[in-house]
């Protein structure tokens, strides 16, 4: 064994690009809902993922938390079944359902045993069409949300994220947390919840993917069963106006904790921008996950300033962001932020080397198949690809888009995108020297 052997292996790697043969079928259910399907017969389970556009951003300005409360109640009773009866029935057929809502969409994920698929789909259909919103269940969920909000008041990570968005999006839905405020959560009425349910779920806004041991016909029937009682509806209301860029400078939120949490950010780049993939690869080198990014090297490996530090591009329906996060002891957080700014500037001014780019491409293209090693992961990715308008052939095209990025592309997008002097920064804790 030796360095020579390992380097040889690395070189061999250059010539091999493996890609999973994910056979995506596009189909339409008998009742007319379009969906994507991957047949995977080797395990007797079926995963279904649905996303409905138009989420908590449409909550009234004085009712943040309304969508969250509504969606939280979906598995608290439906049709003839109260919360306990529903739970027992779900356990009887061993179905698993998950519901979530963010600013832009409501997501439903279901995993079911093949032999119980019809019953599992029927029960989910009842949940989506006829949730009971029993007053008792509402009060229970309201109390849990209020308790969570109270605990959030002293959680530095939560405060940092919420303060950052509130500062970046004043008077805008993205500036209001989907978790709500105590006043709003206390004020929510059952009538508002019923109306929110009707607003959140409409067949016309659904993106649907099915992965598992089903045929295309069976999948179509399951989807129709799930969506049976749902109104057709129209497209989600568009976001009113493109928000202004987040304000530059640092805001400190005092909190008595030993370690400060910092969130920084700036405007990002739309996925349909010609330079999006250049920006994506650039961020992988600058602040992407894993141990290889410049931020990880400079902040953690060289200086021991933090356990985790990362940045990511984020796209909301009406805004694009580039956000990062680091946590460092109060007396050294200023140094961490200095390093972040310096790395932002170095990337803006110098871009990346060919060697860095080659390594990033090898990671990004080689690791892509790791996303497709479970039915649930594939279903989640297919719904993301539908909502982003990427096309059913995206899985096959994606590595080519990464490979096409050049050093010049990254230099151009870095100079255009990165704003080291205009970063919007929130620090929660007792930071020294800020």
């Amino acid at each position: 064994m030796g360095v020579r052997i390992i380097l040889t292996a690395v070189l061999v790697a250059l010539t091999v690009v493996s890609a999973r043969a994910v056979e995506v079928q596009q189909a339409t259910s008998p009742a007319g809902t379009a969906f994507w399907l991957v047949e995977e017969p080797s395990i007797p389970i079926v995963s279904i993922q649905m996303s409905f556009k138009g989420g908590a951003r449409l909550d009234p300005p004085d009712r943040p938390g309304l969508s969250r409360l509504t969606v939280g109640l979906l598995d608290d009773g439906a049709g003839d079944l109260d919360a306990v009866a529903f739970s027992k029935e779900r356990d009887r057929i061993a179905a698993r359902y998950g519901f979530g809502v963010d600013h832009d969409s409501l997501t439903v994920s279901a995993t079911m045993l093949k032999d119980e698929a019809q019953a599992s789909a029927a029960l989910l259909g009842t949940v989506l069409a006829e949730p009971r919103f029993d007053p008792e269940a509402i009060e229970r969920m309201r109390a849990q949300m209020l308790s969570g909000l109270a605990s959030d008041e002293t959680d530095p990570g939560t405060i940092a994220g919420r303060t950052w968005y509130a500062r970046a999006f004043p008077e805008h839905p993205y500036g209001r947390t989907t978790a709500g405020t105590p006043d709003a959560v206390r004020a929510i009425t059952r009538a508002e919840i019923v109306a929110t349910h009707a607003r959140l779920l409409a067949r016309a806004r659904a993106s649907v993917a099915v992965v598992g041991a089903v045929t295309v016909d069976e999948a179509g029937q399951l989807i129709d069963t799930i969506l049976a009682g749902m109104p057709e509806g129209g497209p989600a209301a568009p976001i009113a106006a493109e928000p202004a860029p987040p304000p530059s400078g640092i805001e400190v939120v005092p909190l008595s904790v030993p370690q400060s949490v910092a969130v920084w950010g700036q405007t990002g780049l739309r996925r349909d921008d010609p330079d999006f993939f250049a920006a994506f690869v650039m961020n992988h080198i600058l602040g992407g996950g894993g141990f290889s990014s410049r931020l990880m090297t400079e902040v953690r490996e060289k200086r021991g300033l933090a356990y985790s530090v990362y940045a990511y591009l984020s796209e909301l329906d009406g805004a694009v962001l580039y956000i990062g996060r680091v946590q460092t002891a109060n007396d050294r957080i200023a140094e961490s932020l200095d390093v972040v700014r310096a790395e932002w500037r170095r990337m803006a001014e110098e871009g990346v080397s060919q060697d860095e780019l080659d390594k990033a491409k090898r990671y990004l293209t080689g690791a892509f198949p790791l996303r497709f090693d479970s039915n649930a992961k594939i279903a989640g990715f297919l719904v993301f690809a539908q909502e982003a308008g990427l096309g059913a052939d995206y899985i096959d095209r994606r590595n080519g888009l990464i490979e096409a990025v050049s050093v010049e592309d990254i230099r151009r997008v870095a100079a255009r995108l990165l704003a080291p002097d205009a970063l919007s920064i929130v620090v929660v804790g007792e930071p020294a020297g800020l």
Binding site: M1, I6, S18, K359, D373, S374
Partner: protein
């Protein structure tokens, strides 16, 4: 040694009602081997995607640390990425990444594990690198100094910034009177501050060797090929010849313990209780299986006893739960908690928990409750097959807890065989005051009652 295929035993077992869940079984294909130097290998085949999860588990964790060196197992885990005599400083994860792989590691009480997820045609690369750092770790004093800052920030992030995490530490410390499960995995801060390169290397040299390692490979691989590669790369490594020392055992617990922790950051008080109970590794596994089912009946979901009684019925709690992890080498904790509703005191909600426990010890669960939980458990085995990482962790964790492959294969049947009387018996025997610590976490002294 011979390649020995071993199929997970059918989950069918003595089933009361014939349900589709009981018949929809597809056991994962599991093969195993042992090399001459003592390294044990487990191969779980999953051909759905051309990727592989490669893991090495050392069945030593924070519970094996020398006195005064808490956190050294975890510190070493960090330092294992710093290089070897052949891999340059800081290059380990970068080589994995440049090959399209992800890598990481984890430390627990009973084990320390290292893994890579990568295209299956790169298995040999990661195996060669993992084998290299099993015996030839190399890093400088300066690297260790910097990394100590990183683990202190990790402790800040996970623990010091969270009163709930600090409270759990205090609870564990009070529960275990003689065993190192009572000491946090990440370490006590004052001891972490004194950890050195020499401490890490001493732990490494004592424990990291093929006869004290379990290899788990899951994914798009052929068992015979995995064994061939393992023989090639792990086979030449020298065994230590020294299994880990047995750990100190808990003495009989004779007194119920209580604590109140106040932290001004706490906005939502709650009560938590831990009991000292057996694990799969410490006692007859049927006791652990009964405790698994007891935890679910007491505190899993809205149909659980705690939820039905305290949240839905009396409305004195807004959240409740019970937690027990059976896969441990030594006697471990069984934890319950309740978060009081607004205006309800901790004493009242604690009394509510006690009333539910008393009923359970007296009458046990109903047959219907037992059947419902078993059905969920059977389904969970089917669902687990959708994730090769979950399967790999299940085997690695259980082998690291000292269980054999036969015991792992038999576990679903042990769960299936649990009776109403078994559940009642473990509730009566183990959920008793003398084995318990009860803790209140509050924001200020006013909220205690």
């Amino acid at each position: 040694m011979a390649h020995r295929p071993l199929l997970l035993a059918s989950l069918l077992a003595p089933c009361l009602a014939v349900s589709p869940i009981a018949t929809a079984l597809a056991a994962p294909a599991v093969a195993s081997f042992t090399l001459e130097n003592g390294l044990r290998g487990v191969v779980i085949t999953d051909n759905r995607a051309p990727v592989v999860t490669h893991m090495v588990w050392y069945p030593v964790g924070s519970a094996d640390e020398p006195q005064g060196k808490s956190g050294i197992a975890h510190f070493l885990e960090h330092l294992m990425f710093k290089g070897t005599d052949e891999i340059p400083e800081g290059a380990f994860s970068k080589i994995i990444a440049e090959n399209g792989g992800r890598d990481n590691a984890f430390t627990s009480y009973d084990y320390t594990g290292y893994f890579q997820r990568i295209a299956s045609d790169r298995l040999e690369l990661v195996m060669r690198m993992e084998a290299d750092r099993m015996r030839d770790l190399a890093f400088t004093e300066a690297v260790a100094e910097t990394e100590r800052e990183v683990i202190l920030e990790e402790r800040n992030q996970r623990t010091e910034n969270s009163p709930q995490a600090l409270f759990s530490e205090q609870m564990n410390a009070a529960l275990f009177q003689n065993h190192r499960y009572g000491i946090p995995i990440i370490g006590w801060r004052h001891e972490m501050e004194g950890l050195t390169r020499a401490d890490a290397l001493a732990f490494y040299e004592r424990y990291y060797a093929p006869d004290n390692a379990v290899l788990v490979v899951a994914g798009d691989v052929e068992p015979a090929e995995v064994e061939r590669l393992a023989r090639l790369h792990y086979g030449p490594l020298e065994p230590s010849g020294r299994p880990p020392e047995s750990r100190p055992k808990e003495p009989p617990h004779r007194a119920a313990r209580r604590m109140t922790m106040q932290d001004p950051r706490v906005r939502q008080p709650y009560v938590m209780r831990q009991y000292l109970v057996p694990s799969r590794g410490s006692d007859d596994p049927s006791k652990a299986a009964s405790l698994v089912i007891l935890a679910q009946i007491l505190g899993s979901g809205i149909t659980s006893r705690f939820s039905e009684q305290l949240e839905l019925g009396q409305k004195i709690a807004i959240d409740t739960g019970a937690w027990y992890s059976a896969t441990a080498r030594d006697a471990t904790d069984f934890t319950i908690y309740a978060v009081p509703a607004a205006g309800i005191g901790l004493a009242d909600v604690e009394a509510g928990l006690d009333a539910v426990l008393a009923t359970m010890a007296e009458t046990g669960p109903t047959e219907a409750e037992l059947a419902r939980i078993k059905r969920k458990i059977r389904a969970s085995y089917i669902y687990a097959e959708d994730s090769q990482a979950t399967l790999a962790r299940r085997y690695g964790g259980a082998l690291s807890a000292g269980l054999s492959l036969e015991e792992i294969a038999a576990w679903p049947e042990v769960l299936e065989a649990v009776t109403v009387q078994d559940v009642r018996a473990v509730a009566q025997t183990y959920l008793v005051p003398a084995r318990s610590v009860t803790g209140w976490l509050t924001g200020d002294s006013e909220e205690q009652g």
